[in-house]
Symmetry: C2
């Protein structure tokens, strides 16, 4: 069983009120090192078998057609979920 | 200028209506290879300087305190945004 991760972010020229709310809250909690915050979406799509090139291509097409609005959003990442791409857990 | 990526997903035992809506829509668009979909959040935090271990530690703390609700969500990834972690663009 494999998992494909798709990340979608608002284009940089699009206003991001959610991100701004977080950016405004961080200094109040003592986190002063962050100058900007953008908030986007992360999808995890499960497949029964292995994540093949074909599955990744389908995921990329689904990302463009269904999971993002190409007018205001960019698909920034379509990749198999591995220990590496998952990064260190917090 | 560096960027820290933080990914937050609902815990697996928590119902995810958004993910279910996507999972229901995919087959109608011809994408039959995906058996499950979960939707979460992705944050990009910008810092002025380099992404040091200290910055990552602060980001991890912010992720736990502000960006996620530990009762229903897991912080699945706190990492510096690099070409590698960004994955191939769609």
């Amino acid at each position: 069983m494999g998992t494909v991760v798709i990340d979608v972010m608002l284009k940089s020229e699009i206003l991001d009120p959610q991100g701004q709310a977080v950016a405004g809250a961080l200094p109040r909690l003592g986190f002063t090192q962050f100058t900007d915050v953008r908030q986007g979406k992360r999808f995890e799509l499960t497949v029964d078998g292995e994540v093949t090139g074909e599955v990744l291509a389908a995921a990329r097409e689904a990302a463009e057609k269904l999971l993002s609005n190409p007018v205001i959003e960019d698909v920034v990442r379509v990749a198999e979920l591995t220990d590496e791409t998952a990064g260190q857990p917090a």
